[in-house]
């Protein structure tokens, strides 16, 4: 039985913050790496953290928990956490967990940069 490819996570610094772009499935196996990367990105208390999920085809509640934690840190830092480019399958888990109205979710990265 083959294991999955590890989740890859890319970060990019922007004027008022950072963009975090995971690539791959975010499940119990990948979520700890995302959590670590988001924590690192939030160490400098950026005003804006954009999480671009455009290349995430799958997420479970481990990923949601990671994003909830990051949102709480952003609020504590008086910054914003914005999620963008959700694929439909991933959007549906936000809806099932009724978190689609809790997070700031936009369609594109451009929108996330202007919000």
């Amino acid at each position: 039985m083959s294991n999955t490819q590890p989740l890859e996570i890319f970060t990019e610094t922007i004027d008022d913050g950072v963009i975090v772009r995971p690539v791959g499935d975010i499940d119990l196996s990948g979520a700890p790496a995302l959590r670590q990367q988001l924590k690192k990105a939030q160490e400098t208390r950026p005003g804006r953290v954009v999480v671009d999920l455009g290349e995430v085809p799958y997420m479970d509640s481990s990923g949601l928990a990671t994003l909830v934690e990051a949102m709480q840190i952003a609020r504590k830092n008086q910054g914003k956490l914005i999620i963008c480019a959700l694929q439909q399958k991933v959007r549906s888990i936000f809806e099932i967990a009724r978190l689609d109205m809790v997070f700031k979710i936009v369609n594109t990265r451009d929108e996330a940069m202007t919000l």
Partner: protein, 155 residues
Amino acid sequence: MSSDASQPTVRLEIASRPSLLAAARALVATIAQRCGFDEIQCGQISLAVDEALCNIIQHGYNCREDGRILISLSQGEAQSPGIEIVIEDDAMQVDPDTIRSRDLDDIRPGGLGVHIIREIMDEVSYTRRDPGGMRLTLVKHLHPVAAAHTSESNT
């Protein structure tokens, strides 16, 4: 829904290792598709199983990676089409009545798995196994929309 003896049952035994979740999801989605569910439903059914496995790994086995998890999948009978998934473990036993989701208005990390499972599946039943471990039985009925879709795609 009980499984029909004439329909094949697929069984998968995995270790309680997070890196094996993707393989389990892929198998569940494949079987769900063969049971007639559409792509979105297959994704949701595999999500429900993923959540159940995560709970077993994290809470049942306390993140130990050498625990045993057995997943059995059966297609429903012709008069009650759908899928039945039974997930068994040798992990810590808990009172089934205490297995519940957290309050969704209490926004905090974690505690959503049971809610997601119950939202997706039509029947969810936790029981204790004898002599140890837990058994989770999940049933999803094939609703008329998906049945019609299957019928069309087979013509």
